[in-house]
């Protein structure tokens, strides 16, 4: 029995630490413990409260009692747990070998000697570097016997493995098969009968290569390969979850992807644009659109919009959102399951939890949403109106100059006064600067146009007499230096006794273009000592930030009987950015953006306030005097010109130089902490932006000159990924290309190159391709050409029963894989055959549902009328993809679920698919259109059937088939015959 008593005895009889270690522990036992046990039973992990890392903790044991009884292996729990038919430990891993168990037993029998002070560490990942993390180098092309079969190094690598196994490659497929295979592979569409005939008759020696080049240069190529990419990045046109709202501006990213494939954008550029195009290429119209990648996945509308700030569930929603972003980036570009390290170190790969939170920190300032993007069309539209507006403005300016030239002794007098006051203000010393400010102040939401409402108000707690209100402009320290940051160009200051301001008193109303620039000077209002509980500043025309507009204030002070009664009082606002140095409460925290504000009794500041107030007063007086001098004609002229300008200005405002794209929206980064067990309520150390520590030679802790610059974080990750020394990047992408061409990747888990993924079937070939691609211009089209012109690709798909005995799965590629059409190919091919396919590219997605906006929007696919709407016969890649309610027809055909990264499409075969191909309204309607087309083009029923076979199956019918289909068509109509062809295995499978 394992009892406490025995341990006490054993310890007192000598103790294990004092037993002499003959070296067997460090050589034999420690490696077993470190490789197999300490990950779960280590100093910090302590599963079952057991740590096997030191002699002391091992003796102390865990929930099950002491782990060992020195001198007695049979009584030791450790031996018990790892022995037997079904050992309990290690969990979810192969059992220890007999040899290892024997080592443990011998060690315990010898009294369990343990070197003094030795503490064991988890060393699961030490030793040989996992294949995927090894640096890339170009392997030598192997020698082969059958040189005649070799068209490129690709063939040599594959053939060499086949020859080693005693296998031979299959024969080359016939030309009819090849053109069908290639056209589907590169376009996702069937070849037309004319294209087939032309290829069959083409006697040029490079007819095949010519065909490949023709296909690669067609825009259909980008549509096909863009769809693959959209699968991987889980693109969709709605948010997902509950209240699955539309994303009407997601499509520019989809078009961008298609464009990139058609334009053969080098891969490193493609990576950089998608992670940080707005940072790297700010002027490029693609720059912002490309970051649609980051925003592509699902987003919890309720969690982000409806949950209140400051709640635990809000934190969870944000954590999940960043998780989606980083998982998307690391699955797509690195083929790793980094997101497994959210709650603990990765179980299978050398990815500590800390790395995961470094990546969370990269996305710490990224939200998703519609973002203005430069658009050449919109710029041109706007420029035309701006031109007219400028003309109107100069007309008005000429009139204003006439008015400004007016003068009177009174005006001259006031000018003198103003000049003197300003000089006085300049001469009055500034108060000594207070301590540095930890905060900026209040900041409204960001608006696309200046004419927006924003307000912020302070609650004084009770009604008080008000002597003075000061609006202190912001001048943030984490933005380019901008005095008067966010100070509205039109605003008013109001008082009220209740928070809704239903009944209020306006104490100042200003329109900035009419008053000199206040720049950094506080705006001082001195009302005639009214009493009020609430003071509100309402902006009606906002300050221009970059390409957008905001309202911000550094500090708001309300003076009553010599005290700032606003200090630390509750602040409300119509909206507010609560992040970093900005918060509503920072409006009344005693600091402007730079320093602590002067005390209310500061003499210098008092003098300056008097002058500020006086300047505002005289300015208003001068404006009134001048106004009185204008004669009625001039006044009318001015009114007309002003009205004209206002109308054109409104048009300009309504015509932004941008359009929208659903993309990454940068904000000041939120602090990120390593979360114990992934729990937002258990934050640990703060995490700084970085990447994975397991890639040798790359700096995983980003060196950022300004970590509060959100974009620099993403840019650093993009550089880390697109680095030529990052082996995962290049292996991952060439493997994806191989997967799509051959139906299965060299690594058949394209999103996981870790220990839970598959090993590469041809490791040298994978590395050779990765280097070739990386160093050869990173051209997808060149890679495609290399792969599809190989002899490997041109093999027939026919079976070889003797080869199948050796390699049933065809991992070694002794034949081509037969592939089933994917959902998009099925739909597009049906439309192509019927002649209905609309090849219009780009733009908003077409809907295959009836939409009803509601609390929870409704997407109804039972509405048959949508099949007749314009635009719905475009290629399927352009459909509007709903996350919560998938299109039943395409879903049934295994289309990609936009809720998850889909590197490999399932291909299932179900009875529901058979029903869909037979009965779905789409197939029925298109069969009719197909028949109408055939009847229009051919008058003879036999010719019609002949053409139908060529259009759907790529071949003419045999005589018996022709007879059978003619009979059927006569009895049941040509549309039914067409429908049968769409149900043929020969249509749905590509040899």
């Amino acid at each position: 029995m394992k009892t406490w008593l025995m341990v006490v005895l054993a310890s007192s009889l000598g103790g294990i630490a004092r037993a002499a270690d003959d070296g067997s522990f460090t050589k034999e036992v420690a490696p077993i413990l470190e490789k197999r046990c300490v990950y779960c039973h280590g100093e910090t992990t302590r599963k079952g409260n057991l740590a096997l890392s030191t002699a002391k903790t091992m003796l102390k044991g865990g929930d099950g009692g002491p782990a060992i009884v020195p001198g007695n292996p049979d009584e030791s729990l450790l031996i018990d747990m790892v022995s037997g038919d079904k050992p309990e430990m290690p969990q979810k891993a192969p059992p220890l070998s007999q040899h290892e168990i024997e080592s443990l037993r011998r060690w315990i029998a010898a009294g369990a000697p343990w070197p003094d002070g030795l503490a064991l560490k988890d060393r699961r990942f030490e030793g040989e570097v996992w294949w995927a993390f090894r640096p890339l180098s170009r392997p030598a092309v192997p020698r082969v016997k059958n040189l005649g079969w070799i068209r490129s190094p690709v063939d040599a690598f594959v053939l060499s493995t086949l020859e080693q196994k005693g296998l031979t490659p299959g024969p080359e497929a016939d030309r009819r098969t090849l053109i069908r295979r290639l056209t589907y592979d590169l376009h996702g569409l069937p070849p037309t009968p004319d294209e087939i005939e032309a290829f069959l008759k083409d006697t040029r020696p490079d007819a095949y290569e010519q065909l490949v080049d023709r296909l690669l240069s067609s825009p259909r190529y980008g549509e096909r390969w863009g769809r693959h990419w959209l699968d991987v990045v889980h693109y969709g046109d709605t948010h997902g979850y509950d209240k699955d709202k539309r994303r009407d501006h997601a499509w520019p990213y989809r078009d961008y992807v298609i464009r990139c494939f058609n334009n053969d954008v080098p891969y490193a550029r493609f990576i950089r644009e998608q992670l940080a195009g707005d940072v790297f290429f700010p002027g490029d119209p693609n720059g912002i659109i490309a970051t649609g990648f980051i925003a592509a996945g699902p987003w919890d509308f309720v969690g982000h919009v409806e949950l209140r700030e400051g709640t635990v569930d809000k934190l969870k929603a944000r954590l999940n959102d960043r998780d989606d972003m980083l998982a998307n980036a690391m699955s797509t570009f690195q083929s790793l399951t980094v997101h497994c390290a959210r709650c603990h170190d990765h179980k299978f790969d050398p990815i500590p939890q800390k790395d995961y939170y470094r990546l969370q920190a990269v996305f710490a300032g990224v939200d998703r949403g519609d973002r203005p993007r430069p658009s050449p069309d919109a710029v041109a539209r706007r420029a035309a109106i701006v031109g007219k507006r400028d003309q109107a403005a100069s007309r008005l300016l000429a009139i204003e100059r006439k008015i400004a030239a007016l003068s009177s002794p009174e005006v001259l007098q006031l000018d003198q006064t103003l000049k003197g006051l300003r000089q006085q203000l300049a001469d009055t010393p500034h108060p000594a600067p207070g301590s540095a400010s930890p905060t900026n102040g209040y900041h409204s939401h960001i608006h696309p146009k200046p004419e927006a409402n924003a307000w912020v108000q302070v609650d004084l707690g009770r009604s008080l007499p008000i002597d003075e209100v000061r609006l202190v402009p912001a001048r943030p320290t984490d933005f380019r230096d901008a005095p008067g940051f966010g100070f509205p160009t039109a605003f008013r200051v109001e008082l009220a006794d209740e928070p809704t301001f239903a009944k209020s008193q306006i104490i100042a109303q200003e329109s900035r273009p009419d008053v000199p620039d206040v720049e950094d000077e506080p705006f001082v209002v001195r009302p005639p000592r009214p009493t009020a509980r609430f003071v509100r500043v309402s902006a009606s025309r906002l300050w221009k930030r970059l390409e957008d507009y905001v309202f911000a204030l550094g500090e708001l002070e309300v003076i009553s009987d010599g005290t700032n009664v606003a200090r630390n009082q509750p602040v409300q606002a119509l909206d507010s950015i609560e992040a970093g140095r900005w918060s509503k409460r920072n409006l009344v925290d005693g600091f402007d953006s730079r320093h602590m504000r002067p005390a209310t009794d500061d003499v210098a500041e008092g003098l300056r306030n008097n002058l500020r107030f006086e300047i505002h007063r005289i300015e208003r007086e001068r404006a009134r005097s001048l106004d009185a001098l204008i004669d009625p004609t001039l006044r009318a002229e001015r009114e007309t010109a002003a009205a004209e300008l206002a109308a054109l200005e409104a048009q300009v405002q309504a015509t932004p130089p941008t359009e929208l794209v659903y993309a990454a929206q940068p904000h000041p980064p939120r602090p990120i902490h390593v979360l114990r067990r992934g729990d937002v309520e258990q934050p640990g150390d703060e995490a700084r932006p970085g990447a994975l520590s397991c890639i040798a030679g790359l700096d995983f802790e980003f060196q950022l000159s300004n970590p509060s610059d959100e974009g620099s974080r993403r840019a650093a990750l993009a550089d880390w990924i697109a680095n030529s020394s990052n082996p995962l990047t290049w292996r991952s992408i060439v493997n994806r290309a191989w997967h799509y061409h051959f139906g299965r990747g060299l690594v058949d888990t394209p999103n996981d190159f870790g220990r839970n993924g598959s090993l590469p079937s041809h490791p040298s070939l994978l590395d050779w391709l990765a280097v070739e691609f990386r160093d050869g211009g990173q051209s997808f089209k060149a890679l495609d050409r290399l792969l599809v012109t190989s002899s490997v690709y041109r093999q027939a798909s026919a079976d070889n029963s003797s080869h199948a005995k050796v390699d049933a799965d065809n991992r070694l590629l002794w034949r081509m894989n037969r592939q089933r059409l994917d959902a998009e190919e099925v739909r597009d091919s049906v439309l192509a055959a019927s002649g209905a396919l609309d090849l219009t590219m780009g733009g908003p997605g077409f809907a295959l549902f009836r939409f009803k906006d509601d609390h929870s929007p409704i997407y109804d696919y039972t509405a048959s009328e949508v099949l007749d709407l314009p635009g719905v016969r475009r290629r399927t890649v352009y459909r509007f993809t709903v996350r919560s309610v998938p299109n039943p027809f395409l879903d049934c055909m295994d289309s990609a679920d936009p809720n998850a990264n889909v590197p490999v499409r399932n291909t299932t075969i179900t009875a529901l698919q058979a029903l869909a191909m037979l009965n779905d309204l789409f197939v029925v309607k298109q069969s009719k259109e197909f028949a109408t087309r055939l009847e229009r083009e051919f008058d003879d029923p036999q010719k019609q059937i002949n053409a139908a076979f060529k259009l759907v199956l790529g071949r003419a019918p045999r005589l018996d088939e022709l007879a059978a289909f003619a009979t059927y068509s006569r009895q049941h109509g040509l549309p039914n015959a067409c429908r049968l062809l769409f149900n043929a295995n020969e249509f749905l499978f590509i040899d």
Partner: protein, 478 residues
């Protein structure tokens, strides 16, 4: 005919959605092919995969919108005592929409029922007659207080979209019990989809054959594309002759392409489709049911008619060997309320939802029992989270993820027991906190499946219904 075990498994998977006529998982289990299967005990009873099963079918009643525990099954005298007083359970109270109102007792009275003496509210008087069949879990906790993620958590075990539903996992693990119907059938509320829509019965990354097949009783096409659209050219003869011609075409094609079982599977899929066309209308046709049965389920009253019909159809599906049936009470959010999300007025809105559910759910238990099916059918009643013991706006209740009640009955479930308890307020789980993972693990266990060993490798992760959590709740198992 089969080239290799691997290929055979592919073939079986493709047919395994319930139509293959082959007990998929039985074969998988006995051949040791199910993921992580090393030396599985053979399936001896009810198709159990890892150990003897106590049940073979499941019906899940899902109350969408969050059904209140403290107005149904979780009796708290303190709420009656403190009614109208400030709600102060200690600590910060964080609500979804509102600030906490006063303590609010249930508008319904409470009585004790059955041999077990379980307290039930007057909102569920019929269910009260079954308490000795039921095992209550009043200390359920949700990880989210947002409908979408929380509904996913109960249906798929994850708060994120993209994961397989419990019904999909069960179908994947056990295959079908019949040759004519899908193994996983879903009956949505006739008024619309619950939050997340069909995502709640998605197969996620499992093969599509395992996804829930949505059935809409009364629709012309109760199953998507079951029958062709109305068209004079689409006659029975044209279909029959067409299928014969198609079969010939596909067999000729197959003849020159040895060694590809997918081609055989597709040929077979048309035969299976034809069987579904015959069996689906039959199962949905209630003409053969007696008037007494119809009354039992509440088909005679407008308020119980919809949910009652779906419960009755659920029984018919289970009878015919459907493995997993999911029945929804409650649609999406909207006004007036058409689900259990009673923020505004618990008496009005829960009153209606409760009455629409009580009689049909009771009928299902009693009818299954009368037909001897309850012994090996598990009935699950659940919701995504609970509601607050304090008021929202005077008459409603806000979300409560900290405690809510689920109950189970039937195959392998101990009747008349309660596992765990909430605090005196019905505000937080206090004794034996229970998660959806535990409920899922328990149901799988009763079906003969070890929840830690029913896995599917996806994108490099061995995924489970229970993620990395879950304990079988032995206390409620016979």
């Amino acid at each position: 005919m089969f080239r290799s075990l691997l290929d055979r498994r592919t073939f079986l998977w493709q047919l395994g959605g319930g139509l293959g006529g082959i007990a998929l998982a039985h074969l998988l289990g006995s051949e040791g092919l199910l993921a992580n299967e090393q030396s599985a005990p053979r399936a001896e009873l009810n198709g159990g995969v890892h150990h003897r099963a106590k049940a073979k079918r499941v019906v899940q009643l899902f109350m969408s919108g969050a059904a209140s525990q403290c107005d149904t099954f979780d009796y708290k005298p303190l709420l009656i005592e403190k009614h109208g007083q400030p709600f102060d359970p200690g600590g910060k109270v964080e609500l979804f929409q509102s600030v906490p109102g006063a303590v609010m007792k249930s508008p319904w009275g409470w009585k004790q029922y059955g041999d077990c003496g379980k307290w039930m509210s007057d909102l569920v008087p019929q269910l009260a007659s079954c308490v000795d069949e039921m095992a209550f879990l009043p200390a359920m906790i949700s990880k989210s207080n947002v409908h979408g993620p929380a509904t996913f958590l109960q249906s798929t075990g994850f708060v994120l979209p993209g994961f397989p539903s419990m019904g999909s996992w069960v179908s994947y693990g056990l295959g079908s019990l019949n040759q004519d119907l899908p193994s996983f059938v879903v009956l949505p509320d006739s008024r619309g989809f619950a939050p997340n829509g069909p995502g709640n019965w998605s197969a996620g990354f499992l093969p599509a054959a395992f996804q829930g097949t949505m059935v809409r009783p009364g629709a012309k096409n109760p199953i998507f594309d079951l029958f062709p659209p109305d068209d004079p050219s689409l006659t029975q003869e044209s279909q029959r002759d067409g299928l014969a011609l198609l079969n010939q075409l596909n067999r000729d094609h197959r003849a020159t392409r040895e060694g590809d079982t997918r081609l055989d599977a597709r040929i077979a899929s048309y035969e299976l489709a034809a069987r579904l066309q015959l069996s689906a209308p039959e199962v949905l046709d209630l003409k053969g049911e007696s008037a007494a049965t119809k009354t039992l389920y509440g088909l005679d009253e407008p308020i119980t008619e919809d949910f009652g019909r779906n419960c009755l159809i659920a029984r018919r599906l289970l009878e015919r060997g459907v493995r997993f049936v999911q029945v929804w009470s409650g649609a999406d959010n909207g006004f007036p309320r058409r689900n259990w999300d009673s923020h505004e007025d618990i008496a009005r809105d829960h009153g209606e939802m409760g009455r629409s559910m009580d009689r049909p759910a009771t009928a299902l238990i009693k009818d299954l029992k009368a037909r001897g099916l309850l012994d090996d059918t598990i009935v699950i009643w659940t919701t995504e989270f609970g509601r607050m013991p304090c008021s929202q706006g005077g008459k409603g209740r806000d979300h409560n993820p900290f405690t809510f009640t689920s109950w189970l009955a039937g195959g392998g479930i101990k009747g008349g027991v309660t596992h765990g308890a909430s605090d005196a307020w019905s505000y937080k789980a206090e004794v034996n906190p229970t998660y959806g993972y535990d409920l899922h693990a328990t149901v799988l266990s009763l079906l003969g499946i070890d929840h830690e060993r029913l896995t599917f490798r996806h994108n490099g992760i061995d995924r489970r219904l229970t993620d990395v959590h879950g304990h079988v709740i032995r206390e409620i198992v016979t």
